[in-house]
């Protein structure tokens, strides 16, 4: 697939009259005994957004974001500069600035043998923005509206469609060139419904690394509208959530946010190196119940959290983080892997060229077990069943994490009963997964809507899990 590299080189270098050899010379000029790592990260991002309100698409926007980030790493020190002009003099200035992290002059002459590294293709290198007409994009949103307003309780429908097309070209100190072409699309619906003086809002969405065409013909419009309507109708009849410690059954799919918050962030290599994560000294130890296996996998075809290569050019992989309850691996970028004496895992990610890469998750999920979901619910005398979630958050140092319910029910004597209002659940990452008592046979990944924020950088991610039961969690209701 030389097409990735050819396209990226033509779109990011040739168009700006920059030769490959001049970039190679810049990398060479950055290298010295004191520099462990250096890279130039060129990127073009084209994105668009269409929104529907009052039954009509009345708003649209388009943006171009292009630039280059230059980085030099010496030990644990990083020098970083970026520019939104891809022109030679500005680039040379950025290189000088970044390498100033070490005050030494170049002490060895470096002549790297440059290689072009091709990679697998976990999604097609397409540009979703131009593949279909704007008319058809608008039609998709109208289809959502028509379907959602069929429920007479619905008083308001908002919908949006967004897509981006990203071209990335990376030159590294290893003397290698890497490229990736990343499409990403997403469709969202939000409804407000009213009944007997009560009002609730719910939303649903779907997305991945493919064309908008994917939303047609796969019943996706129907799926997200039905999901939003199901949530909103449940919540219109909800009672106050209970307060206190109780057993919790978490549904399959998006509730995998639990893993992302409870253990995912705490296993990112920067926190491990700095020993600020509660898991820093726990490699090889049992941190979860037997049967719990948690995986981060950037290679799942067409998934929102997937990448062909990470933002340092490392090929993405499947990394078993927790195997049968034991902590096996961390998620690592090149710098943290080097300092920890480990290998990078393809988890270096950055929001764009203007930010430094960090170890981040891709698609993080729990492997499935043997239980039927019904059996799991039947085993609970008094607790809650959390079918769908909103977002979550974690303090990786104390290990405390939260996530919020957006569609949940009471379980009484093994049966799902009254729907309950949204509430926050809180737990402790170091022992939350030790409380996993039953794991379902229904592993599902989320619908491709996750956004993860860390140090002000937002990136697309995926989560997933089968239905699971935790023996206890604190439910933050009012009753």
């Amino acid at each position: 697939m030389s097409t990735h590299l050819e396209l990226a080189t033509s779109q990011l270098l040739e168009i700006n009259s920059i030769s490959q050899s001049s970039v190679e010379n810049m990398i060479n000029s950055m290298l010295s005994k004191k520099i462990d790592q250096a890279d130039l990260y060129f990127q073009n991002i084209y994105s668009e957004n269409w929104t529907l309100e009052d039954g009509k698409v009345k708003d649209g926007s388009f943006s171009i974001n292009k630039g280059v980030g230059v980085r030099a790493v010496s030990g644990e020190k990083t020098g970083f500069a970026f520019s939104d002009d891809i022109v030679l003099p500005v680039l040379e200035e950025a290189v000088t600035t970044a390498k100033n992290i070490t005050k030494n002059n170049q002490d060895k002459l470096v002549k790297l043998a440059w290689n072009k590294i091709n990679t697998k293709e976990v999604y097609k290198p397409i540009n979703p923005l131009v593949l279909i007409d704007s008319n058809k994009k608008i039609e998709l949103l109208h289809d959502i509206y028509e379907l959602a307003k069929q429920d007479p309780k619905v008083t308001r429908v908002d919908a949006s469609l967004n897509g981006s097309y990203e071209i990335v070209l990376i030159a590294t100190h290893e003397g290698s060139w890497h490229a990736d072409i990343r499409p990403l699309v997403r469709i969202n619906v939000s409804v407000i419904a009213e009944e007997n003086g009560r009002k609730e809002r719910a939303s649903s969405g779907y997305g991945g690394r493919y064309s908008y065409e994917h939303f047609k013909g796969n019943n996706i419009i129907e799926e997200i509208v039905n999901d939003a309507l199901s949530q909103v109708n449940t919540n219109l009849h909800s009672v106050g959530a209970p307060a206190g410690k109780m057993p919790v059954v978490l549904g399959s799919g998006w509730p995998g946010v639990l893993l992302h918050e409870a253990v995912g962030h705490g296993l990112e290599g920067d926190f491990i190196r700095k020993k600020t994560s509660v898991f820093s000294n726990m490699l090889g130890q049992k941190i979860a119940a037997s049967g719990v296996t948690v995986i981060d996998n950037g290679t799942l075809p067409n998934r929102r959290g997937s990448l062909n290569i990470d933002d340092e050019g490392t090929v993405t992989q499947e990394t078993v983080l927790i195997e049968n309850g034991y902590l096996k691996n961390f998620m690592l970028d090149k710098m943290n892997a080097r300092i920890l004496g480990m290998s990078p895992t393809g988890n270096a990610r950055r929001e764009n060229y203007a930010y430094l890469p960090m170890p981040r998750m891709t698609n993080t999920y729990m492997a499935e077990g043997d239980y039927e979901p019904e059996e799991i619910i039947k085993s609970v005398k008094k607790g809650i069943y959390a079918k769908n979630f909103g977002g979550g958050q974690v303090d990786i140092t104390s290990g405390k994490f939260v996530f919020s319910l957006c569609q949940a029910y009471l379980i009484e004597d093994g049966k799902v009963t009254a729907p309950i209002k949204g509430a926050t659940l809180i737990g402790n990452g170091a022992d939350a997964l030790k409380k996993v008592e039953m794991i379902g046979n229904d592993l599902a990944l989320d619908n491709g809507i996750g956004i993860c924020g860390k140090d002000g950088q937002n990136i697309p991610v995926g989560v997933g899990q089968p239905t699971i039961k935790l023996s206890e969690m604190i439910v933050g209701g009012t009753e």
Partner: protein, 457 residues
């Protein structure tokens, strides 16, 4: 690390003299003309330049030096009531032309929106004030590095219980904002912001706690010293060690000044034009109604000199002005831009860029007196999660804080949630102390709420 200040090799340059600024102003004029030439009835263009340096030290050593320089242009084309928007970070003529074409093409694709358009000409800030927002820090990068290491060294050596650090960050940045529209408005002004933050870890293994302190200012002279920042970060971090569990109960709650702004941020969101016209607010249609205690006011002061939230005009060129959103507990104004104002048949309040320095009054009592007033209850110092529903007012958040008895802080607590409904929480605010957090855009002291549900063990 060299200590020679005179070296100045990495001196941070002033944005005012940057040749890109006049280039961006010319580009603004060019873009407006070009959009009109394409048949648009109106146009607006905003551009800006941002430049800054951020230093991170960790464990007394330099960790990162980040140089930022960003620019961009956003154009909006109106063809009658049809609107399209496009932006680019690449400001060469071809990219800008492509961006203008994209905006015009979108405007031709979308449906009419009778509420869309520029803000009214008579509200434009043709004589906008100078708010004294620009105080560049003329300093070398080496000095910033020394300052970061000094702050962190002080923090790490002050208290044995501090075992680790997520680092100290010292940053200085400058922005130049330019906005123009076909009402004949062109406004532009520079601003600066300087910041020092310190994040520390105390304790070990599964008994670690992290906390932080930061100082931020337009003007170096009002930035707290490195030593002050270090001291406060140490105090906040070590006092969280060995948290205890609470049982589930109902209790009075104090939202500490560090986080009380989030409570009033909910009010702003609920009275925002967008949530009002979408009828998606627990305070829908409350203008003229009492929603907070009768002693409470929320007043916006956008023209404060050197204010962190100050703006001479908003994102539509409308003159920002002093006003009450809440006066004597009663909703006086919604938070509006011209679009949401038209949807509600009102006039814009000049809040297209959000709120600008929102002052919430206090009852002139100190924080210790507020603790005494509560007597027994929970002092919340940190909130976690996204459990706030603006449509219904249902509120449920993870919390960290301290248990208070006899008006005194007894011990830290964590792994709890606090829950209630914003309607009740807001109308049952008992008191606010005079310890407002001046680093925030919403300036409010610690806030005592009569009762919420705590879920715990």
């Amino acid at each position: 690390m060299t200590k020679n200040h005179k070296q100045n090799i990495d001196m941070i340059s002033n944005i005012i003299g940057d040749p890109i600024v006049p280039q961006l102003i010319d580009l603004t004029k060019y873009s407006m003309e070009k959009i009109l030439a394409k048949g648009a009835s109106d146009a607006e263009v905003s551009t800006g330049l941002y430049s800054g340096v951020c230093i991170n030290s960790r464990l007394k050593k330099l960790e990162n030096v980040e140089y930022n320089k960003e620019k961009g242009i956003t154009v909006t084309a109106y063809f009658g009531n049809k609107k399209g928007t496009a932006s680019t970070t690449d400001i060469n003529k071809k990219s800008v032309d492509d961006t203008i074409n994209a905006a015009c093409n979108i405007a031709k694709m979308v449906y009419e929106d009778i509420y869309s358009g520029l803000a009214p000409t008579e509200l434009m800030a043709f004589n906008y004030p100078d708010l004294d927002l620009y105080h560049p820090w003329e300093i070398s990068v080496n000095y910033l590095i020394e300052r970061a290491i000094e702050c962190e060294s002080y923090a790490l050596d002050l208290d044995d219980r501090v075992t680790n650090s997520e680092g100290v960050s010292v940053s200085t940045s400058q922005s130049y904002n330019i906005y123009s529209n076909t009402n004949g408005f062109l406004g532009h002004y520079p601003s600066s912001k300087h910041r020092t933050s310190c994040i520390l870890v105390a304790g070990e293994d599964t008994n670690m706690q992290r906390d932080y302190y930061y100082t931020v200012s337009r003007d170096l002279r009002s930035l707290e010293s490195s030593v002050e920042v270090a001291k406060k970060a140490v105090k906040k971090t070590v006092q969280r060690l060995k948290p205890q569990k609470l049982t589930t109960r109902k209790s009075p709650i104090i939202f500490h000044a560090d986080i009380a702004s989030s409570l009033f941020g909910c009010v702003i969101s609920a009275i925002s034009g967008s949530n009002q016209y979408k009828k998606s607010s627990f305070l829908h249609n409350t203008i003229g109604l009492q929603v907070l205690p009768s002693w409470l006011t929320m007043q916006e002061k956008p023209h404060l000199k050197r204010g962190l939230g100050s703006h001479p005009f908003d994102a539509e060129g409308v003159m920002t002005r002093e006003k009450y959103f809440i006066e004597n507990g009663i909703v006086k104004n919604y938070v509006l831009d011209s679009y949401t104002a038209r949807r509600l048949s009102l006039e814009t309040t000049g809040n297209a860029s959000g709120i600008n320095n929102l002052y919430i009054n206090n009852q002139d009592i100190s924080f210790p007196d507020l603790l005494s007033k509560m007597n027994a209850g929970l002092l919340v110092t940190e909130l976690l999660g996204h459990g706030i529903n603006i449509v219904t007012g249902d509120y449920s958040q993870g919390a960290v804080g301290f248990w208070v008895e006899n008006g005194e802080i007894k011990y830290p607590v964590d792994e709890i949630t606090i829950a209630g409904n914003l309607h009740d929480m807001l109308s049952n605010i008992i008191s606010i102390s005079n310890d407002a957090d001046h680093r925030k855009n919403i300036l409010v002291g610690s806030t005592l709420v009569e009762e919420m549900t705590i879920a715990g063990h």
